[in-house]
């Protein structure tokens, strides 16, 4: 559960004794595979009332961040605390574009940064996680952020989020969009498949309790080259249209062609279209229309096409207005959920 190149620490908050603190080295790439299960096992063995899976990157020392993270479990009886950080508007774009709106629409809970790579767990949750057979079945998948968050949100656990100040950053080198998509969105789609019977019964969403000061870091106007993002989208439509044709219905392809046919500097994907595209790719991931890594990597130009519009929209906005823009996107994911359910149940039926 730690970011690449970091260590994951288990903290027994009841005992300052170093013997009750375990540190498990994280893998060099990808962060996840298996080591969080070792930490959770250790927590259960020690009988620690709360365990925190943390990145070793330097946290915001102006706050009692560890207290903020663990108090909801120790004092308010929560089972899961999602660490959430103040970030710049264009940071964690995959989370903004896909992971947050999708997780929120699926499970009906507004965890703002569900793919943060850190978590705090109660002993009851740790025991419940260890009891899940998936820990033994699939060593590359167990313990992923998406798995943990989905297990919590789909189960009877009480979740909240703690704002821990400035984002401590990642020790890992910046990832390009296609690798990040395959690494982060793949497990989310897998969770969508695992909890299909659950999320189809969820309507709307509700906020989760928060501690700490929420917000976005105020940064100046961005100078992101939206022309390059637009070019990437147009190139993708020209060259990958055949592959997308296996995934997307004709109406969506037509909307994409219309967007690409707009004059230079005007091509953009609407939020409604983007939400449908994500649901279509999730269905294709489940039905294995094409090989999963190819499928996820082929999403890149679409993702960049949506990001282009978002960057343009938030260029002059402050943090609050940017959050309102994200809120609008999430609204579309929730409104398009009946479409997701219909596609999920009848993936082969004609869908213009």
């Amino acid at each position: 559960m730690a970011t690449a190149g970091s260590e994951t620490e288990l903290v027994d908050v009841d005992s300052p004794d170093a013997a009750n603190t375990a540190a498990v080295p994280a893998p060099k790439v990808g962060a996840i595979a298996g080591h969080s299960s070792a930490v959770v096992r250790e927590a259960v063995r020690l009988g620690a009332p709360a365990a925190a899976l943390l990145s070793s990157a330097a946290h915001d020392e102006s706050l009692d961040w560890l207290g903020l993270l663990l108090q909801p479990i120790l004092e308010a009886g929560f089972d899961y605390v999602s660490p959430t950080y103040l970030r710049e508007r264009l940071d964690g774009m995959l989370n903004t574009a896909i992971v947050y709106p999708l997780t929120r629409a699926l499970f009906g809970r507004r965890l703002r940064q569900p793919a943060g790579g850190e978590a705090a767990l109660s002993l009851a949750l740790a025991r419940a996680l260890l009891a899940q057979p998936v820990w033994r079945q699939d060593p590359t998948y167990r313990g992923s952020d998406a798995w943990l968050v989905a297990s919590v949100l789909a189960g009877p656990f009480r979740a909240c989020q703690a704002w821990l100040g400035r984002w401590p950053g990642s020790a890992a080198q910046a990832e390009d969009a296609s690798h990040a998509l395959a690494r982060i969105v793949g497990p989310v789609f897998q969770e969508m498949e695992r909890h299909a019977d659950r999320w189809q019964r969820v309507e709307g969403s509700e906020p989760v309790p928060s501690v700490g000061q929420a917000g976005v870091i105020a940064d100046g106007p961005s100078t992101v080259d939206i022309g390059a993002l637009e070019d990437a989208f147009r190139l993708g439509l020209r060259e990958l249209g055949e592959i997308w044709g296996l995934v997307l219905p004709p109406g969506t392809l037509l909307a994409l062609r219309r967007a690409a046919a707009a004059p230079a500097g005007k091509a953009r994907l609407s939020d409604a279209l983007w939400a449908r595209i994500i649901y279509d790719f999730a269905v294709a991931h489940s039905t294995r229309v094409i090989e999963r890594q190819q499928l996820l990597r082929s999403m890149t130009p679409l993702y960049l096409g949506w990001v282009r519009g978002f960057v343009e929209d938030v260029r002059e906005l402050d943090g609050e207005a940017t959050e309102a823009r994200v809120e609008a996107l999430c609204g579309w994911f929730e409104r398009e959920k009946p479409y997701a359910i219909a596609r999920w149940r009848w993936p082969d039926s004609f869908n213009p």
Partner: protein, 240 residues
């Protein structure tokens, strides 16, 4: 005259019957070979079908793009494999049967065929695998090249596909023993030509990408930091 005709006819009939009697055991042996090979072919066809189904071969090949999605439902990789395995075993049985005939010509032909057919089959298998791998490579290269922003992505993907096909064809022909020296020379020329064309395509299509990658990897290299570099952090999107 009638007596002569009768004698000649009876002699001929006797010779014919003796020839048939001599040939009959080998014909029966041949038919037995064919019958056994038919049984074996049916068994192997069933085995291949079960093996393919266990591996989910149809789904996997469609997933990887080796087999076209949504094609004729009457054809599938499993059906093709079962048919090929059935007729191959049956054909081998017939060749074995021919070699059992007490006929030098038939035996010689069948022995030559039996010697050659396995190499031919392996050659065809190598080529078929190469064609399948080429399609997977083409799709992967296409997606990768598009994500790198290469305008000549399609050309590069096609080049990669034909490289693999050519390599497979050359190995298959070499294995089958067909025109080995000509094939080697032709393959070398074509392979070199495609690699050269791909190098040009990558070089021309991805120079910006390479420049950006180098800039990211060696940010301190080059001239002193100007306004463009200072703005670089604000001009980037952090996906994770």
């Amino acid at each position: 005259m009638w007596q002569d005709t009768k004698r000649i006819f009876l002699d001929s009939a006797e010779h014919l019957l003796q020839a048939i009697a001599r040939l009959l055991p080998s014909v029966l042996a041949m038919l037995l070979f064919v019958a056994l090979s038919a049984l074996l072919a049916v068994a192997i066809r069933g085995g291949v079908r079960r093996f393919s189904e266990r591996l989910a071969l149809d789904r996997r090949l469609r997933e990887w793009g080796v087999w076209p999605m949504g094609g004729d439902p009457r054809t599938s990789p499993t059906k093709l494999l079962t048919r090929v395995s059935f007729w191959t075993v049956l054909a081998l049985g017939v060749f074995f049967g021919l070699s059992a005939l007490d006929s030098p010509t038939a035996s010689a032909v069948s022995m030559r065929l039996l010697e050659y057919v396995p190499r031919l089959l392996v050659g065809i298998a190598i080529f078929a695998i190469a064609v399948g791998v080429a399609r997977v490579v083409e799709r992967n290269v296409l997606i990768g090249a598009v994500n790198m922003g290469m305008q000549s992505a399609r050309l590069i993907a096609l080049g990669a596909r034909w490289l693999v096909v050519l390599l497979g064809a050359a190995i298959a022909l070499d294995h089958a023993g067909v025109g080995s020296s000509v094939v080697t020379v032709a393959f070398g020329i074509l392979f070199g030509g495609i690699v050269f064309a791909l190098s040009l395509a990558v070089g021309l299509g991805a120079k910006d990408f390479v420049a950006r990658s180098l800039q990211r990897r060696f940010p301190d290299a080059g001239t002193s930091e100007g306004p463009a570099e200072q703005d670089d952090a604000r001009g980037q999107i952090h996906h994770t």
